[in-house]
């Protein structure tokens, strides 16, 4: 709810701004500007959504809503560097971070945009963008910087600024600064052409000087020469002003440029002036001699009646040139986001995919319709979620990645359609090209003929002019001589009379005679002169006639050429339209394709993340089952043990039972043997007794034997009985033993089962772990490109290396040097020119004072910038946004005085605060807040604490810590 209210408030604010812009824009439109702009503003159209909402919807995160935002600290350092060129001080940071106001980010943006540092930073950015650190040859740096600064302070619209750069000739003091763009390129046509193309239209057509680009199909030699036709009309002129020689820019009357491709020699093309995305200029046809307002001469700024530069400035900046609008939108976007929607910035062509071609188009349109208001545009970018995206790919963000699949699917269905459109548009464009080429082929010989006649005409005109001049000279001579002779003649008469009156005056007579002679001589000269005049008069007429004939021929040639030119123009209009359609369709197709690929990778990585997560779960469940199985196995062990004991007991019982049986058996057999033997003996004895009856001894023996036998039989019976019982016991023991055996076997089987379960679940766990590590590896490899993909699509913030100037100012700011200078200058001004109480309440007066202080501090410190530019900057005339790191930079940081001298404890800087802090936590906070605009993590506090404990000299330690952060990667980049 609150969010909705806030966005409504923003929309209202934006509309208000829009209305404020209107009068400004109207003022700008004095001559020819912004016709469509005023119209669209004046109409009662429904309010368009604020630009930051458009940005948010066009560059929605790949995974739908819920994508994380940058932290306050991250945002604070980022926006401060981007809008003011330096981070905030420790105290400013602390105040912002502790501020609970939900609108504090928006307020901060407005505060930074109102700071004089915004104008300084923007002027520097424009300087580097426009001049690329070229040496100051004709315009001093201070003059140029001051002009840029004033332009930014006045929030001069970009199109006005660009128009001034394109048209200024440097002949008047007020136009000198703006003329630097051409002057310090020495008006070299190819240099100017290349840089016009790159800096104002986003197209580096360097290769197209000699041929259509073999690499970039949309960069054409024709486009290059269209711009060259403009650049080559201008040239440098020098004149003395006081004792100084001043160089300024003059322009020739336009002529057609002919060119041919080195790949296609002999096939000539012609062009007049043209700027990207537009048909050829409609240039007036002026007769030679009538085409200059001020004709060229030494030290004179020639001015043609038709100026291609003026025409270019008008056509490029009136809001209707898409290339111009999108180029600057893309450049300002890159200034904030660290990367263009199309990147590199001077490679805007349909084969170079944009993060969102639709957004680029809208940015261009909206920027133009806002009256090219740079400040407002930057504000809208800063307000967008896209600008406020995080640097880190947090877990939270990673969890969002799989959702990219849905976006991907929705795009896939469109892709085929887009590609068909692109192919159709390409074939139409190529058809139009062919028709155009045919028309051009027909036109070129006639145009060449016209050129030849034109040369003749110029010759004839020159002859006439020469003859006329000769005639004029002769007439003048004749007239003056004749007048002289006549005057003499008139004087002779009175002198003769006087001489006659005074005959004695011989002197007078001599004079009269001399005069008479002189007069006669003069009179004699006159007829010859008269004749010369007559001759010269006669000579003029045929030349005039010849001129008329040539002019007629020229007119004829032109008339013959005219319809052919018409056809070429008509065909060209078709080419331009077809090409624009092709560019748009193709651009959409390549961009969609590249986005699809990125989304595919992102979705795949997301899926791999899901796979990892599910494998982690699986592994956990396997771990649990391993534990359970182990537990079951362990739990069963006592059972097995008990059964083993049982078995042993049963075994023992059986052993003893078996022993009893065998003892009993022995007894039985012993008694049986004894009984049998006794019976046999008794029988034998009876036989003997029968033989010897009556032998008493024998009878008693028999009886004894019989008794013994009976006793034995008794014992046998008894032992047989005990054998039976022993046998019974034995069989019982056997039964028990078997039972125990069975129980033990069963227990063992169960144990085996449980053991197997443990083994199995262990194996499963191993396998799960292995597949987890495979899944992790595959996820990690998929994730390698993801931060790049995400940041290329602005879902994560870019790593922006600080520019040399940002490095310099950041070092001054974080070491409190900058603020100390501000304080000194403020105090100085307060002393020398104190503000009145009234002024102290006047916002304008306060702003003016702030600007004055900024200027004074800048002037005092600017001498330091050069050493940073030398170390961190690119070469003059080369693109300045390439990052490189070299050992000489590291040596500069390590051993140079520029940084070492500023990190010593002084003036309440971080190092001094560390020295003063008794609590290492406070020291760590001061260090990180002061130098990196953020609170330290717990680990970082611990590191600082350990560092301080280990170092004896507190002051040196503070210096070492401060240097450590200034030289760290985190300091070197804005993220």
């Amino acid at each position: 709810m609150i969010a909705r209210l806030r966005s409504a408030a923003r929309a209202a604010f934006h509309m208000e701004r829009g209305m404020m812009v209107r009068p400004v824009a109207a003022v700008l439109c004095v001559a020819f500007l912004c016709v469509p702009v005023t119209k669209s503003l004046a109409d009662d159209v429904p309010p368009t959504p604020p630009l930051h909402d458009i940005i948010n919807s066009e560059l929605a995160p790949p995974s739908g809503p819920g994508w994380p935002q940058a932290s306050d600290a991250e945002f604070l350092r980022r926006i401060s560097l981007d809008l003011n060129g330096m981070p905030p001080s420790a105290d400013e940071s602390r105040a912002f971070l502790n501020d609970a106001d939900p609108a504090k980010r928006e307020k901060l943006i407005d505060r930074l945009l109102a700071s004089p540092l915004y104008a300084r930073h923007m002027a520097t950015t424009l300087d580097v963008m426009l001049m690329e650190r070229r040496p100051n040859t004709h315009v001093p740096q201070d003059e140029w910087q001051a002009w840029l600064l004033k332009s930014v302070r006045d929030n001069k619209p970009w199109n006005v600024l660009a128009r001034e750069l394109m048209t200024a000739d440097g002949d008047s003091p007020e136009s000198r600064a703006a003329a630097r763009f051409c002057l310090d390129r020495n008006a070299e046509p190819h240099v100017v052409t290349r840089d016009l193309g790159r800096i104002f239209f986003g197209r580096d057509m360097q290769c197209n000087q000699c041929h259509d680009s073999p690499i970039v199909s949309d960069f054409l030699q024709r486009d290059y020469h269209g711009l060259l036709a403009i650049a080559s009309a201008s040239y440098l002129v020098k004149k003395k002003v006081g004792d100084k020689e001043v160089t300024f820019l003059a322009e020739r009357s336009p002529t057609d440029l002919s060119f041919e491709s080195v790949f296609d020699k002999g096939n000539t093309h012609r062009t007049v002036a043209r700027i990207p995305g537009m048909p050829s200029f409609t240039e007036p046809v002026l007769n030679p001699g009538e085409d200059y307002a001020i004709a060229p001469a030494d030290g004179v700024r020639s001015v043609p009646k038709f100026s291609r530069r003026m025409m270019m400035a008008e056509l490029a900046t009136n809001g209707s040139n898409r290339a111009f609008n999108e180029n600057i939108a893309n450049r300002l976007w890159a200034m904030m986001l660290g990367r263009g929607l199309v990147h590199p910035l001077d490679m805007m062509h349909p084969d170079n995919p944009a993060a969102s071609p639709k957004l680029l188009k809208q940015l261009g349109e909206r920027f133009a319709s806002s009256g090219f208001d740079m400040k407002q545009f930057l504000r809208e970018i800063a307000l967008s979620d896209v600008y406020q995206r995080p640097f880190d790919l947090s877990d939270d963000a990673v969890n969002h990645l799989p959702a990219a699949k849905l976006v991907h699917q929705s795009l896939v269905t469109e892709q085929d359609k887009i590609e068909v459109l692109a192919r159709d548009a390409a074939s139409q464009s190529s058809d139009a090209d062919n028709t155009f080429s045919a028309a051009e082929v027909a036109m070129i010989p006639v145009a060449a003929e016209t050129d030849a006649v034109r040369t003749q005409l110029v010759d004839a005109q020159k002859k006439v002019d020469d003859a006329q001049k000769a005639l004029n000279d002769a007439t003048a001579t004749f007239n003056s001589r004749k007048t002289f002779a006549e005057t003499l003649q008139q004087a002779v008469e009175p002198l003769n009379l006087a001489s006659a009156a005074l005959p004695e005056n011989s002197e007078l007579a001599a004079t009269a005679k001399a005069l008479a002679e002189r007069s006669q001589k003069s009179m004699a000269e006159v007829p010859a002169l008269e004749k010369a005049v007559a001759e010269k008069t006669a000579a003029v007429a045929p030349l005039n006639e010849a001129l008329l004939t040539t002019r007629a021929a020229f007119d004829g040639a032109r008339q013959k050429l005219q319809p052919l030119l018409e056809t070429v123009r008509n065909e060209e209009a078709k080419v331009v339209a077809a090409r624009a359609a092709m560019q748009e369709a193709q651009f959409a197709a390549t961009s969609a394709k590249s986005r699809l690929l990125a989304l595919e990778r992102i979705a795949a990585a997301g899926e791999k993340k899901i796979a990892v997560d599910s494998t982690v779960e699986q592994t956990a469940s396997y771990e649990a089952s391993v534990l359970a199985a182990n537990k079951e196995m362990t739990e069963y062990m006592p059972v097995v043990a008990a059964r083993t004991t049982d078995m042993q007991t049963a075994e023992q019982a059986m052993t003893s039972a078996t022993a009893a049986v065998s003892t009993a058996q022995e007894q039985v057999s012993r008694y049986r043997n004894a009984s049998v033997t006794l019976d046999e003996a008794a029988t034998a004895l009876k036989k003997a007794q029968a033989a010897l009856p009556g032998d008493e001894a024998m009878v008693s023996s028999v009886n004894t034997l019989l008794a013994k036998s009976n006793a034995a039989k008794e014992s046998l019976k008894a032992s047989e009985a005990s054998l039976v019982s022993a046998s019974q016991m034995s069989s019982a023991a056997t039964g028990q033993m078997k039972a125990a055996q069975t129980a033990l076997a069963e227990a063992n089987v169960e144990l085996k089962r449980r053991q197997d379960l443990v083994t199995q679940s262990n194996a499963a766990l191993m396998q799960a772990r292995e597949s987890l590590s495979t899944a992790r590896a595959s996820y990690e490899s998929a994730m390698e490109t993801i931060p790049t993909d995400l940041s290329a699509n602005f879902a994560l913030s870019q790593l922006k290396p600080l520019t040399p100037e940002q490095m310099c100012w950041t070092v001054f700011k974080v070491t409190t040097v900058y603020d100390r200078y501000v304080a000194t200058e403020a105090a100085e001004l307060e002393k020398t020119a104190p503000l009145t109480d009234e002024q102290k309440n006047d916002a304008a007066a306060l702003a003016a004072r702030a600007a004055e202080i900024e200027q004074r501090v800048y002037d005092k410190l600017k001498g330091n910038i050069a050493s940073y530019v030398q170390i961190y900057g690119g070469a003059p005339g080369q693109p300045q946004n390439d990052f490189y790191a070299s050992p000489d930079q590291a040596l500069f940081t390590s051993n140079g005085s520029a940084i070492n001298s500023w990190v010593v404890p002084a003036g309440d800087n971080a190092a001094e605060r560390i020295v003063k802090a008794t609590d290492p936590r406070v020291a760590a906070e001061e260090l990180y807040l002061g130098l990196l605009t953020r609170q330290p993590s717990e680990q970082e506090v611990a590191e600082v604490t350990a560092f301080l404990a280990a170092r004896q000299d507190r002051s040196k330690a503070a210096q070492e810590l401060a240097w450590g952060l200034v030289s760290s990667a985190e300091f070197r980049f804005n993220k």
């Binding site: 030398q870 900057g873 070469a875 080369q878 070299s886 050992p887 810590l961």
Partner: protein, 480 residues
């Protein structure tokens, strides 16, 4: 009367004396004294105990020693130390054997060296000037008598005598010789040093890949890499001084430096773990490179060489610079450029060349001999160039003017043939009559000589940029 030709390899002493005589004859007219320099020449001519040896590139005394030393080191096995010269030699050898890294060294004879007073003399011709041609260590090759010591190194060198660059302007001439292309208004091209740095310097090398020793003071970074980017711009050593900021200020102790760098690494490493990119890697790596460079700072300090070495090269600036160049090449720098100034002799061409070339001859010959004895010639291309040569015609001030139609470049090492002359001019030196080449051919050939496919492209920011002028090609039939 034909002059007596004395061959230095048959009669070295007589040759040296002859040189002195020539020089004295030429220099007595001069107001300043030449004796000191001449003394060097005499001494060096006389002290080379057996110049015959120098005829055979593979059997020089120094070479033999180096080879024995190398074998000895191998035999002694790892860990065994060889003292004295041996230690140095084996170290250098080890460094060389360690990598196949190729190198280029360019002597820029600033102002326009006269080919007639150096590589392509025309004695006797009306354009030839007063000097003789002398035989060299390669039978049949003669060069100007102003280069007697270089003549003894001819078996290492190759003369390209058919150079025609059609550009008589200093700036434009220097541009096309350094970049291999004619200057165009709409775009700059990288110089040979930047190209060499990009193609030859190991990506993880600690030494800068592109060093220019400037004759004057100054220093810092040159503006010579165009679209290859500042990474390949030259590190300029003003008058041979070390690069700026290479020495830690006294106010920072070693202990303190270690502590602060440890802290820096800790902080940076944590940041890199948040997002690792080529950019952040390059940034942190630059500190490691800087540290290595600081540890190697002695490489930039020729005073670390024994006095005898400094004596061998000559105590003048060029001698010092040559010795520095040798040290740099030995420690892995892939490109070194030296300048010798100034040869723009519109007046007094002959006297100036005596003076200038005496310095050059002394330092350059020692340099070539040292590279050869260190077995570095296989991997190191030597180029002696100017922006152009000088007119065959001698003007009224005894000077020679700018002349680009028929002049010479001296090369050596790499795949260049040894002891060879390629191309020729006519008798008066006014036209190329055989195997004409231009700056584009030369540029291609330099690169090919160190194993770079000069017809390939660099990929710069997604754009293909030809390494050398695609409309030109390497010299046919020169390289071996």
């Amino acid at each position: 009367m034909p002059r007596e030709i004395i061959s230095f390899n048959r009669q070295p002493q007589a040759y040296a004396v002859r040189c002195i005589r020539v020089r004295l004859r030429l220099t007595v007219k001069r107001k300043y004294l030449w004796r000191d320099r001449l003394k060097h020449i005499v001494v060096s001519c006389l002290l080379k105990d057996d110049p015959m040896k120098l005829l055979y590139p593979c059997n020089t005394a120094a070479h033999g020693l180096a080879r024995r030393q190398f074998l000895g080191t191998l035999a002694a096995g790892a860990g065994a130390m060889v003292g004295g010269l041996g230690a140095f030699t084996s170290q250098a050898m080890a460094a060389q054997l360690k990598s196949d890294q190729k190198r280029i060294v360019v002597f820029n004879m600033h102002g326009g060296l006269s080919q007639l007073e150096s590589w392509d003399p025309k004695p006797g011709a009306d354009t030839g000037g007063p000097f003789l041609a002398i035989p060299t260590s390669v039978p049949g090759i003669h060069i100007s008598e102003l280069l007697p010591l270089t003549a003894m190194q001819m078996h290492h060198l190759c003369l390209i005598r058919g150079v025609n660059t059609s550009e008589d302007d200093h700036g434009k001439g220097a541009y096309l010789m350094m970049t291999g292309r004619r200057q165009t208004p709409a775009g700059e091209f990288p110089q040979i040093g930047a190209v060499a740095s990009k193609t030859l310097n190991p990506p993880d090398g600690s030494m800068p890949g592109h060093i220019v020793i400037t004759p004057g003071g100054g220093g810092g970074r040159g503006n010579d890499s165009a679209w290859l980017g500042p990474k390949y711009s030259s590190v300029q050593l003003g008058n041979g001084n070390p690069p700026p900021n290479i020495i830690r200020p006294d106010s920072i102790t070693e202990d303190s430096d270690k502590a602060r760098n440890d802290f820096r690494r800790q902080v940076s490493e944590r940041f890199l773990n948040r997002r690792r990119t080529a950019v952040t890697e390059a940034f942190t790596y630059s500190f490691e490179q800087a540290e290595k460079l600081m540890n190697q700072r002695d490489v930039f300090d020729v005073t670390k060489e024994p006095a005898s070495e400094i004596e061998r090269y000559g105590k003048h600036d060029l001698g010092r610079h040559c010795l520095l160049a040798r040290r740099l090449l030995e420690s892995g720098v892939s490109f070194v450029q030296l300048s010798h100034s100034n040869y723009d002799t519109h007046n007094e061409n002959f006297n100036f060349h005596i003076e200038q070339l005496a310095e050059f001859d002394f330092a350059f010959s020692t340099f070539v001999a040292d590279l050869a004895s260190r077995e570095m010639l296989e991997s190191t291309l030597i180029v002696v160039l100017s922006e152009f040569g000088r007119t065959p015609n001698v003007n009224q001030y005894y000077g020679r003017d700018h002349w680009s139609r028929a002049w010479s470049v001296c090369v050596g090492g790499g795949r260049m043939p040894r002891g060879h002359v390629f191309g020729a001019t006519n008798d008066k030196g006014t036209e190329v009559v055989d195997k004409q080449v231009d700056h584009g051919n030369l540029f291609h050939t330099y690169l090919q000589a160190v194993g770079v496919d000069s017809t390939g492209n660099f990929n710069v920011d997604g754009r293909d940029m030809p390494i050398a002028d695609p409309s030109s090609r390497p010299i046919d039939g020169l390289l071996v």
